[in-house]
């Protein structure tokens, strides 16, 4: 018996729509097995992961807060992936954005700087993220160096740079030697949407980014160029589209969005700069981008779903002592199933029995 792929005459739109749902179903089935192996009641565990966080207002807000950076980064990454440019260093661009924005917050600390501080932080963070993403993009376009490897290497560099700053020059003198900056001033903090709640202005910005991406991809020539360069490079060349220019553009935009997400996370939910501000948002956003089928609206839904697994994972750890790493395993398995189901859009799977074919003489 042998598994054989048969190319479909045209891509199946039905499967394109349901494939993420099949993938989620298969992932949950796999998780039930994993929970059983870990000796936990699978039904209780699934409840803690997927139902419990949806039942109280605090967790619902927390899901939106966690989804904010995921959606913003994933929107940028989807532009890259659509244009066949492989930015996998969003985590580094996120950290550099956080660092650059924090620089203003740290320098204006305790001064009577006015309302310009937060907007300046956001702009600087986006610019820094874009510049940091341009390093691999330019190395790729000018020298042909693999953007996959260079963008990833820069994640480690950004991580170490942030570590140096909060342990060295920016450390809070009153922070009992903890590696963190002082708490940001109110003018350097992202305002909350609900007094005393968790939801902050960043979530609105994320929604605006989704809308902007939907317009860019659906209604503009640039968006069309991005999609053509990725899907049909030869046709794009005949059309006179400049693939190199699009690599630069998509990297810059995704870097800017990751940087913006970084400063919003630091100046919002965290409130100060410290190591470990990201539980791997830059990498999880890759899953969000694929689960959302590289489509802005899909990414919004996928971002909320992945955020649910973060919150659910924390609740499952507290309630059932399920290790946090299960969340990462879940996310990895999910990406596998998403990619496998995507294969169904282009191919039909067939099981072939070779010996029967030999009998018919077709092999």
């Amino acid at each position: 018996m042998q598994l054989v792929l048969e190319k479909r005459a045209e891509r199946s739109n039905t499967i394109a729509l349901v494939s993420p749902l099949i993938a989620i179903g298969l992932t949950i089935a796999t998780m039930i097995v994993l929970f059983a192996i870990l000796g936990k009641n699978p039904l209780l565990a699934l409840h803690a992961y997927f139902i419990a966080p949806l039942t109280d207002g605090y967790s619902l807000q927390e899901i939106a807060v966690k989804a904010t950076p995921l959606v913003m980064i994933a929107i940028g990454l989807s532009l890259c992936y659509l244009a066949n440019a492989w930015n996998i260093g969003a985590e580094g661009q996120f950290l550099i954005g956080a660092v650059a924005g924090s620089w203003i917050a740290v320098k204006t600390q305790g001064t009577d700087a006015g309302a310009w501080v937060l907007p300046a932080m956001l702009v600087l963070a986006a610019a820094a993220g874009a510049l940091y993403a341009l390093i691999p993009a330019i190395c790729k376009v000018k020298f042909g160096a693999s953007e996959i490897l260079t963008s990833l290497m820069l994640v480690y560099v950004a991580d170490l740079f942030l570590d140096y700053l909060v342990r060295g020059p920016w450390r809070d003198p009153h922070g009992f030697n903890f590696p963190t900056t002082a708490e940001f001033d109110p003018v350097a903090t992202v305002p909350l949407l609900i007094e005393g709640g968790r939801l902050h202005l960043g979530s609105i910005i994320a929604l605006l980014v989704v809308a902007a991406a939907a317009i860019l991809l659906g209604r503009t020539i640039k968006g069309f160029e991005i999609r053509v360069v990725g899907a049909a490079p030869r046709a794009a060349r005949f059309g006179g589209f400049n693939a190199n220019q699009l690599v630069i553009l998509t990297f810059a935009v995704s870097g800017a969005l990751a940087g913006l997400a970084g400063i919003i996370e630091v100046a919002g939910p965290v409130g100060h700069l410290q190591p470990g501000i990201s539980p791997g948002y830059g990498f999880t956003a890759i899953i969000v981008a694929f689960l959302g089928r590289l489509n802005p609206l899909g990414i919004l839904i996928a971002g909320l779903f992945l955020a649910l697994t973060f919150i659910g994972g924390e609740q499952a750890q507290i309630a059932m002592k399920i290790p946090l790493d299960v969340t990462k395993v879940f996310q990895g398995i999910l990406l596998f199933y998403v990619l496998a189901c995507d294969s169904l859009i282009l191919y039909r799977f067939k099981l072939v029995f070779p010996n029967r074919q030999v009998a018919r003489g077709t092999h």
Binding site: G144, M153, V157
Partner: protein, 305 residues
């Protein structure tokens, strides 16, 4: 003198996991498959390797566990990228994300435990020769094995018929298929070899490099191994040079930190990663007269019937 000997020993130890993992990936890529999941296979190999050694008390069985774990991980990749014709870049990333989670899960019970690290060779007389004695005759088995492995791979790729067929698959899978070679089966074996090597390289870390397991202990070595394959222009000889150069950068920055050079330690720690970026740029730039990469590297192949 003693310091020089110590540095050379440390460089060899730091280079060995890079060399083993990169050797495996070189074979995988020579067959035309780009498996970006080296980091994930390594970290699972590290966790399983330590678990095996801790449970049985045998370094050899630990290494075996690492190899099996890496191979199983690579089979998942093969099923996806070769069986289901999924984009290899995305599949490799998924493998790394999964591997980091799995290793945390497997290794959680072993954090804080210690084992007796791998024995070093000792030949009375030879090992005692000053300066070169311990470097040549006092290493652990992994170091000798890694050199035997790369020589074996060189011989296989350039001196045997199966090696020639494997390279043919990597350069033009359509022609290889037309000649009747089972491209996907050959690639599956190449991917499995890469996984076995990555698993062993990961296991080397807790079995010989440091005698304990910590989550995330591969610290990007899998990605550096991938860069090394590019650095080597897909040739085994240059791979050895590259691996030892990178090992040297890692060790020198550690020593520089110890000597109290007035540069913050984080900047020194960033050196191997920055060096990787710079080397990739310089090499890609030097190669203007056409790429040396296997021509079919990373492309999807679905055999027509």
């Amino acid at each position: 003198m003693e310091l020089i000997e110590a540095i050379i020993l440390a460089v060899l130890a730091a280079s060995t996991p890079l060399l083993i993992a990169a050797t495996g990936e070189l074979v995988t890529e020579r067959s035309g498959v780009l498996n970006l999941g080296v980091e994930g296979m390594m970290i699972v190999g590290a966790a399983c390797g330590f678990a095996g050694a801790w449970l049985t008390g045998s370094i050899f069985i630990g290494a075996l566990f690492g190899i099996i774990a890496g191979t199983l991980m690579s089979l998942v990749f093969a099923l996806m990228a070769l069986g289901l014709a999924v984009n290899q870049v995305a599949t490799g990333l998924a493998l790394t994300i999964l591997g980091i989670g799995l290793s945390g899960l497997i290794g959680a019970g072993f954090v804080g435990e210690r084992i007796t690290p791998a024995m070093h060779l000792y030949i009375p007389g030879l090992t005692d020769i000053p300066l070169i004695g311990r470097v040549l005759f006092g290493e652990d088995a992994f170091v000798y094995f890694s050199l035997a492995l790369i020589i074996g791979v060189w011989w296989f790729l350039y001196r045997t018929r199966p090696g020639l067929i494997l390279r043919a698959c990597g350069d033009n899978h359509v022609s290889a298929h037309a000649l009747g070679y089972p491209v996907l089966r050959i690639r599956t074996f190449a991917v499995m070899f890469g996984g076995a090597c990555a698993g062993l390289a990961g296991a080397y870390l807790p079995l010989a490099y440091t005698p304990f397991f910590i989550p995330g202990m591969t610290a990007g070595r899998g990605w550096i191994a991938l860069a090394l394959v590019v650095f080597s222009s897909w040739r085994p000889g240059r791979l050895v040079v590259g691996a030892y150069l990178f090992g040297a950068v890692t060790i020198l920055q550690l020593h520089a930190q110890g000597w109290g050079v007035g540069i913050p330690s984080q900047f020194m720690s960033a050196l191997p990663y920055l060096a990787t970026v710079i080397v990739l740029v310089l090499l890609s730039r030097a190669r203007t007269g056409g790429s040396t990469a296997p021509a079919a590297l990373g492309t999807v192949f679905v055999p027509d019937r």
